[in-house]
Symmetry: C2
Subunit: 238 residues, 2 copies
Amino acid sequence: MAGNQTSSVTDEIANILGREILGGLFPPGATLIGEEEICARFRASRSAAREAVKILWAKGLLVTRPRRGSRIRPLKDWNFLDPSVLGWLRESATPRHFITELLEVRLGFECEAAALAASRNNADEIAAIREAFEAMRAASSGQGDPVLSDAAFHEAVLAATGNRFFLPLSALIHTALQYSVPTTNALFGHQVGDLDAHGKVLKAIEAGDSARARKAMHDMLSEVLARVRTAVELTGAA
Amino acid sequence: MAGNQTSSVTDEIANILGREILGGLFPPGATLIGEEEICARFRASRSAAREAVKILWAKGLLVTRPRRGSRIRPLKDWNFLDPSVLGWLRESATPRHFITELLEVRLGFECEAAALAASRNNADEIAAIREAFEAMRAASSGQGDPVLSDAAFHEAVLAATGNRFFLPLSALIHTALQYSVPTTNALFGHQVGDLDAHGKVLKAIEAGDSARARKAMHDMLSEVLARVRTAVELTGAA
DNA sequence: ATCATCTGATTTGTCAGATAAATAATTGGA
DNA sequence: TCCAATTATTTATCTGACAAATCAGATGAT
């Protein structure tokens, strides 16, 4: 992910401030630095500063009012499932708690997603799951990125639900994998067992067996959770 | 919901354009009207127009590029769980499919949330669930808003998970209830049975019984789903 | 004729400065 | 001490300008 492809001034400001907010530099209830100070700090115009703050506002991180400045909102209003917010959080999160939290949520909706994908039985979308599975197999023998193919598998399952509200959760999965796959791989080597688990999910969905798909997904994620917990104990709690 | 409390120019533009995008006026791949046209249409400055577009960008609806304008992104990139996006979608959604989709997702994560809330066993947060339950009881006899107290109950469960990533889902619950409660109430009158179902969830969580909490939540949501399907059949499919 | 390159037009990105509106802080009077 | 008017500060909006990116068409070479 080297490509720091010269993002715009506005995005740069939004990213840095977002990172600082998620990192705890501006906790809920605090007030962000004012527009003028943002301009000075980033050597940018007020337009850029304002648009950056609007981005943070759009993600639920703060509210702005004349004279009062930008006040950080309570955590319950933060859009933790937003891709950018997840990214900012990832950079400052304590690994142990972070990955456990992500897996708890995945355990909730991914099992249901697998069940729905099986019941929906859409040929094209199931084919996409199969392709991602083949990519994972290739990646397990060194051909391709294991994180990306793994993420593609799970995202394909979400798409196969035919339910729009599952789609935004792919960002969470992506973040979780970026975190957990390298960690567990470093300790246990390539996860051939994980490939089998994914295969079981795929087969259950192909068979249109909702209950089996749900269980296969549940088993797989529980396994990952157990492995991560083991890894944490070995490396020491963060 | 009378309070159209004179939102800012920027918000006004973002709301209207967001509604139009979610309503299908600008489908994925299409290009939004340009900044100049936005200025003309809303009689606003370019600053306001640009900040509005930035909001839509922040929610994943579009990408902007010089000369190419704002291109609407594919559905998979839309932040369907964002409160504003949900609101815009609600205004133009076909009721039958919409409410079913929402319940499918709730069935996924709310059962897990109830189980987590039970295992976490945080006294303060469980007290909040109980309070919301009492508010529901009051609302069922005409004292207070049934939608708000119902939403408060479910949001309290999410908060009791101690997991930040469940919090943003409260917007989805709120939207779902605004939709389903009036619909089912109109057909079946006040839902006393629903109150019992909520009571079972509360008791399981208070007892710290994860499995029972999960099942109670599942039973309740399945019941709602069944009721909504019945209601749809009675009123005619949309 | 086909392709690459150059030129111009169009649209977003950024900057600068000014005025309006909202609200916190201060001040003055009763 | 308390309340009301005033002042100061911050965001909200507007205007106008230039920069940068990119598409479309013209130009030229092979």
